[in-house]
Amino acid sequence: MNLLIKNGRIVDPVNHVDQVADLLIADGKVRQIAQEIPVTPDAEAIDATGQWVVPGLIDVHTHLREPGFEYKETIRTGTMAAAAGGFTTICCMPNTKPVNDSQAVTEFILRKAATEGMVNVLPVGAITKGCQGEEITEMGDLREAGCIAVSDDGRPVMNSAVMRRAMEYASMFHLPVISHCEDTNLAEEGVMNEGRVSTELGLRGIPNASEDVMAARDIELAALTNAHLHIAHVSTQGSVELIRRAKEEGIRVTAETCPHYLVLTDEAVTGYNTNTKIKPPLRTLKDVEAVRKGLREGVIDVIATDHAPHAQVEKEMEFDSAPFGITGLETAVAIALQLVDEGVLTVNEMVLKMSGKPAKLLNIDRGHLSVGAVADITVIDPRATWVVDPPQLKSRGKNTPFEGWKMKGRVTHTIVGGKVVYKG
């Protein structure tokens, strides 16, 4: 069955397309884009009047938790959440149990994703065995098995010499090295941003420097090794500036930030809501503004979710004991649209940072709607309003800091390889 998306605003920044048109999908590929494509009996029509038809969104930073933490999330529920959030491709981080540091685990994930997954899953392999920061993994094997990048996300590689060797080795396989920038000694026992709010709440603080110091180190190592460094979840003014300078100097660095660093500050922690406990922590307004500016100016290349689901009982704990992380796949589009509304990004920039740019940094042929391209497509109703109600999230993790927020903009169709996997 072919699919005919009628009358939507097709936004395909990679091809510089932004027009109201019809889009025909046949055999899982984009077949034709034209003003009036007639409805034929062999095509199912989707009326996209007033909606945006964009390349399927790509999340370079997701935690699917399986294997090992199925009570938090599974490949099934995580990809359902991805589909509901408009993501057609997601990259899953290796900090599972066991850690994805071997072909066996990578193959397990890909097998599960093929049978139970709703969207494309691209595994990220570990930089070091067990994410312990000591011995680098067999990245050749990982690449062959299907890993598209390496990362020890959840923690940094504290030892600079190990990071250097990892970068050198990864570049041989053209694997981007995704760095979770955190000096754990500086972060100490911190549970939130260090500043006025942490002082008021009596919570131990994590200074901006804990991120900035590592961003600076990794940039220097990228310059030394000529590896592709991708800096995850940028949250500080300092690291935005470091990345800006690195790019000016031609160092191979890309960066992502997440929706929550664009709309929340550490004030959100007031009241000890554990669904605001994340790493890096929510920062101050000054940082939010710098990150927004960095995103607008292209210093930050992509918006990623860092979707980090946890079980309710874990988040019902005292703030100090609750785990770090929040869910994000299903709220990302609405928050990104808020930025469009506020004039931080244009529609094209937003779409580019959630599809074309991530595809480019992962070296995959996705993120555009060229004729003949795989039909991974997201249809968004930019005017639909809804309220975030955690029990209704498809993800097993209900740990969203946006509970009760009135959102504008919702995914109506998520299409993977020409098949509708989610209908809002």
């Binding site: 006025r196 009596g202 919570l203 009241g271 000890y272 019902e316 704990m317 005292e318 703030f319 100090d320």
Partner: protein, 308 residues
């Protein structure tokens, strides 16, 4: 005027009228504690649960005496932080206690914000008896009571708080309370023990103790946790004491009638010298006495707040 709240979680959320109400009421209760028969029937039939996740004989006993003098039944639960390791969360523990029909839960917990979890989820009145590094509201109330009793007022006084401000819930509660009541508050200690951006709470920061003490009406010395040593907040207790121990000579920089306070227990010779701790200007024992009256006032006022 009444206290329109179910719980006492912090001083930050109290306005000046509420603080004054508590202090005025405590004055009446201090009269009760001076009677031959120190017990009144006010909270007969009510149950007060002391839920302590950190050992603190002083505070627990003070609340226990306060509750008993109001004729409430008191149950002490001491949880050595191990209930979590048994798989029971704080919320489980609290729900169990509520099922026993506790009217008040007095909680001391090593995690900041733990009392807020209870307050959000339980119908019982929750009183924070110290949470992590956050607040210890009844301690600040008894400190303010003691200052007001001695000095006749709080407004306009200069109060110097000395020592480990960063890890002190007593300091935070006092900073909120004293500034709200119109006192000028100074904090002094080594940089690592001064919390980030503390000036935004309306205090001035000093690293030099004598400067901080100069012209002060009240000196509040904090207890230094001996475990802080070896974590590079300061090199050694010896050097800490050399720089920040309140000696007779240093106290001389404050006003002649300055009063000296300490929330206890005192490390004599580390944060305060024995002569000063036991000297004439010291009100450390009065603080303990006043603690009972203040806690009676809090229990009384919260019991009138509705639900229970």
């Amino acid at each position: 005027m009444e206290l329109k709240r179910k719980d006492l979680l912090d001083i930050k959320g109290l306005d000046r009228e509420e603080i004054e109400l508590i202090l005025d009421t405590a004055e009446s209760f201090k009269e009760v504690t001076g009677r031959e028969i120190k017990k009144v029937p006010t909270l007969r039939g009510k149950t007060v649960v002391n839920l302590f996740f950190e050992p603190s004989t002083r505070t627990r006993t003070s609340f226990e005496i306060a509750a008993k003098r109001l004729s409430a039944d008191v149950i002490n639960f001491s949880v050595s932080g191990s209930s979590v390791s048994k798989g029971e969360t704080l919320l489980d523990t609290a729900r169990n206690i509520e099922a026993m029909r506790a009217d008040f839960i007095i909680i001391r917990h090593p995690a900041s914000g733990a009392p807020h979890i209870l307050a959000r989820n339980l119908r019982s009145s929750v009183i924070n008896a110290g949470d992590g590094l956050h607040e210890h509201p009844t301690q600040a109330l008894l400190d303010m009571f003691t200052i007001r009793e001695r000095k006749g007022k709080i407004e306009g006084l200069t109060v110097a708080i000395i020592g480990d401000i960063a890890h002190s819930r007593v300091a935070r509660s006092n900073i909120y309370g004293l500034t709200r009541m119109g006192a000028r508050v100074r904090v002094a200690g080594p940089p690592a023990l001064i919390p980030a951006e503390v000036e935004t709470l309306g205090v001035s920061v000093f690293y030099d103790m004598e400067e901080a003490l100069s012209g002060a009406d009240v000196i509040m010395v904090l207890r230094i946790q001996l475990e802080r040593q070896g974590k590079n907040y300061f090199p050694t207790l010896r050097e800490f004491a050399r720089l920040y121990c309140l000696t007779q000579e240093r106290a001389g920089h404050a006003k002649g009638d300055a009063m000296i306070m300490h929330p206890g227990p005192v490390n004599r010779g580390i944060e305060i010298s024995p002569e000063v701790a036991d000297g004439l200007s010291s009100v450390i024992l009065e603080q303990v006495t006043n603690g009972v009256a203040v806690r009676m006032a809090v229990l009384y006022l919260l019991s009138g707040s509705g639900e229970i």
